[in-house]
Symmetry: C2
Subunit: 127 residues, 2 copies
DNA sequence: CGCGTCACGCACCGATCGGTGCCTAACGGA
DNA sequence: TCCGTTAGGCACCGATCGGTGCGTGACGCG
């Protein structure tokens, strides 16, 4: 599992992007319009949102429905496949809630122990 | 959950990298040396492996044990926090096994429907 | 003495990620 | 007529990701 060309790597490619899982999660309660998504999710640019939605559509996780109306209206909804991904995502979210403080504590510990650390491996910290 | 500055975003930063989850998973059965990891995992460069391990160490998921021996010997092991992440990772892996074919089918469908697609949103395909 | 092993650092590089800013198209309202 | 709204395309940009290649230090072996 997860070795070399294993299919399981595919799952991580689906979550490798910063926003994929967040967008999927934001669609869990039904169809949403891009504007709504941009509102619900904080700090995603409109370009990246559409790119993300295209990618999710390409992978069969969401469906795009465009209505030819006065102000253009578009809705994105999860497919069955997309909905099946909600459970794993929630598992992760639960883990994060339980252990976020431990991760933060570990990061702080690192900063203490190594005096003047040359290159803190990465921010990894919500701005 | 997953909104704006929510802590749950942290979980995805931990998996945002291509190799983080794979390396954690490769350590599930006990300590491993870098060489072993490079062997188990396919196609990871030595630079990226050490970077990944440093990052995991920084986040408190793995521990580094160096033995001052003749040919330098180093072992990396999961911490308790790291082990607690195995369950969510496995959940994902299970999802991938179940649905990988659906994702691939969706991708193929995309290629059929849109004749000469201008920009296939992304490879997202194991090479 | 030269070679191999092992962990790892560093310089360099191309590809991708994500962000900003500006553009269109189509309509309703003032 | 001009503005606002909505979706989204396009150009451009800096930061990061991941890869290659080379060097080092300490040892063991022939």
């Amino acid at each position: 599992m997860f070795l070399a060309d294993c299919q399981a790597r595919l799952a991580f490619d689906l979550l490798a992007n910063t926003w994929n899982a967040v967008v999927v999660w934001s669609l869990r309660h039904g169809p949403r319009r891009p504007g709504e998504l941009r509102g619900q999710i904080g700090g995603i640019s409109h370009k990246v949102l559409t790119e993300t939605l295209r990618r999710l559509e390409f992978n069969g996780l969401v469906e795009r429905h465009a209505y030819a109306e006065a102000p253009p209206r578009v809705e994105y909804a999860l497919t069955g496949l997309g909905r099946s991904l909600l459970a794993p995502i929630e598992t992760f979210g639960a883990w994060a809630f339980e252990h976020a403080d431990e991760v933060l504590a570990a990061q702080d510990r690192w900063e203490e122990e190594t005096i003047a650390s040359p290159t803190p491996p990465r921010a990894e910290r919500p701005s």
